[in-house]
């Protein structure tokens, strides 16, 4: 993942557009993929990533190293804005009505091209495999919590699990991903 985030950020603060390009090269794909995972809409996901990166460019002091790693901060922003759009879209049924007339095929979410494959880090590959290897119940809870933005009580209602179980499965899933990463390093 982005190891020199603080340095890139300080160059963005100084107005170096090349730094924005480097940031995009390092994180653009991950940010877009995350937003697309939540929204399943390429144009909306592009808008989210554009908004987040352009916000950082216009107001770089919105971030500071005291707020954590730059890539984690950006992932959080992208995730939260995507969830907001997902909720807003769910409330606007007219969009659903128009898009209902379709299309029995959907884009292949796992699609990659050879060039991108070569650049993907071992860490990211390991994390992707680790997520897939989580028990189904942990994957489900993480999906509802992280990718759908449901609260613990909403997840509990949906799955019939207790609040405590929901929280512990989120923790277990996160802990496992941390362990994989730690072993890799």
């Amino acid at each position: 993942m982005l190891e020199n985030g603080e340095h890139i950020w300080s160059r963005i603060v100084n107005g170096e557009s090349a730094a924005l390009g480097e940031l995009y090269d390092a994180l653009g794909g991950i940010l877009f993929s995350l937003s697309f995972r939540i929204l399943n809409d390429r144009w909306e996901s592009e808008e989210v990533v554009q908004d987040v990166l352009s916000s950082l460019w216009r107001k770089p002091t919105a971030y500071s190293p005291q707020k954590g790693k730059l890539h984690s901060w950006l992932l959080t922003l992208v995730r939260n804005r995507s969830i907001d759009r997902y909720r807003s879209r769910s409330r606007r049924k007219d969009v659903v009505e128009i898009d209902e007339v379709i299309l029995h095929t959907k884009p292949d979410l796992d699609a990659t091209n050879a060039g991108d494959e070569a650049e993907k880090t071992d860490e990211r590959t390991a994390l992707q495999q680790a997520f897939k290897s989580l028990p189904d119940d942990q994957q489900q809870i993480l999906d509802l919590s992280y990718f759908k933005g449901l609260s613990h009580s909403e997840i509990a209602d949906k799955t019939g699990l207790s609040l405590g179980t929901v929280k512990s499965r989120i923790r277990l899933g996160v802990d496992k991903l941390k362990r994989i990463l730690s072993n890799l390093r």
Partner: protein, 419 residues
């Protein structure tokens, strides 16, 4: 510690109740150790984000991001004679819908049929260019198959040049022929560019960037048509009339580095200064605002000497109004031709008639938005204008501002920027 870590996870996930969130933020501000737990939780949740499957990016996406870094203009660069005085109080802010007529107000059944056909065709076309379509991922097979069923839309465009507008509109704006304006707004704003991209995709020359452009144009065309003809699609129009603020970022997303076309003239848009904040209060208002943007974009697209034009949005330069300013390099003769359109209508040729109509659409709209009664008042107030600075033509229109104490776009969940 475990509870604080759990609280941190919940905070980052945006699921802490409001009062608990505020309490937690206060704790974080006071205690570096708690802040460290919070940043750790954010890093840990980021691992989930990093585990998402890869999705291909559009080939132009990187450049669109970098183009943004190079944008930004100062209005002082263009010493335009815009209004610096407060606009007279207009009472309740105009929020769209005033241009609406019924389809039956279009007496000519051929034209009425054409409008209905265009709308139904675009409704059917829209899903095939949406962000969840296979075309958006680069596979255009299904889209091209769908396009083979679409009748040739450009056949409807000549209708626009055959619709006369009463010349006395220039003297008495409120006597304007609204059905004709609705017809022209439908046929001359986003539709010409949409037709261009449909043709390009249909011929096999298109790519994912064209699919994206077609999506935004199609969405705008549908909303513009609903705002023009109130009985065209009442259920969707009622959604368009709901309160929903539209911010400048919406315009930025679709015009950012966008290829554009007005009939045979192609061009490219760039973005200058864009203020942050809402522009309109409802989709139906946004559709009218959008039609003004398309009108001036189309005008410059066809007359710019290098086929490029720039869009800027400013606020607080004219009290009570936001300003959309469009710039393009022009030759002296090109600017003269454009400037003439702001003095009187011109129907000496199909091309001049179309260009003239574009100016009239903006004047009529702004006249209504600020409750003026004549076009000359709008021009004298400098709420719409055309000027030349150096070798650049600038067009602008003003729009009623949304007061600062009102909301912007959709609210966010937990905001890392507040930590």
């Amino acid at each position: 510690m475990k509870d604080l870590y759990q609280t941190s996870l919940d905070y980052c996930l945006g699921i802490l109740p409001g009062h608990e969130s505020a309490e937690f933020e206060a704790l974080v501000a006071d205690d570096p150790k708690i802040k460290e737990i919070l940043t750790g939780a954010m890093d840990d949740l980021g691992l989930i984000g990093q585990s998402t499957p890869d999705t291909n990016l559009a080939p132009d996406f990187r450049q669109r991001i970098l183009d943004f870094a190079g944008s930004g203009e100062n209005i002082d660069k263009f010493p335009l004679a815009i209004s610096k005085t407060s606009i007279p109080e207009i009472g309740h802010r105009y929020s769209g819908g005033g241009a609406s007529v019924d389809l039956l107000d279009i007496r000519d059944t051929v034209k009425r049929s054409a409008i209905e056909n265009i709308y139904e065709t675009m409704i059917g076309f829209f899903p095939f260019v949406s962000g969840s379509s296979v075309a958006s991922a680069g596979d255009l097979t299904e889209l091209q198959e769908q396009l083979s069923f679409i009748p040739s839309c450009p056949n409807n465009i000549p209708l626009a040049s055959q619709i006369p507008l009463q010349h006395d509109y220039w003297a008495n704006g409120t006597n304007g022929d609204l059905p004709s304006f609705s017809l022209k707004r439908t046929l001359l704003t986003s539709l010409p560019a949409l037709n261009f991209f449909i043709s390009k995709l249909s011929s096999g020359d298109g790519d994912i960037c064209d699919v994206r452009r077609a999506f935004y144009l199609c969405r705008d065309q549908l909303k513009i048509m609903r705002s023009c003809f109130g009985d065209l699609d009442k259920p969707r129009l009622s959604k368009d009339e709901e309160l929903r603020y539209h911010g400048t970022e919406l315009l930025r997303s679709k015009w950012w580095g966008a290829k554009h076309a007005f009939f045979k003239q192609t061009s490219k848009a760039s973005l200058g200064h864009f203020f942050d904040g809402p522009v309109t209060e409802r989709c139906v208002e946004y559709a009218e605002y959008d039609s003004n943007v398309y009108s001036f974009a189309n005008l410059l697209a066809s007359m710019s000497s290098d086929r490029n034009f720039q869009i800027n949005l400013f606020k607080d330069k004219t009290p009570g109004a936001s300003l959309a300013i469009f710039n393009a390099p022009t030759l002296d003769s090109e600017h003269t031709d454009i400037a003439r359109l702001f003095c009187a209508p011109d129907s000496t040729s199909d091309e001049k008639s179309r260009s003239s109509s574009l100016v009239q659409l903006v004047l009529e709209s702004v006249c209504r938005a600020f409750r003026y009664t004549s076009v000359s008042d709008v021009l004298n107030s400098r709420l719409v204008g055309c000027e030349r600075v150096d070798q650049t033509t600038s067009l602008w229109f003003a729009w009623p501002v949304i007061p600062d104490n009102q909301g912007g776009a959709v609210a966010e969940t937990s905001n890392p920027e507040s930590k």
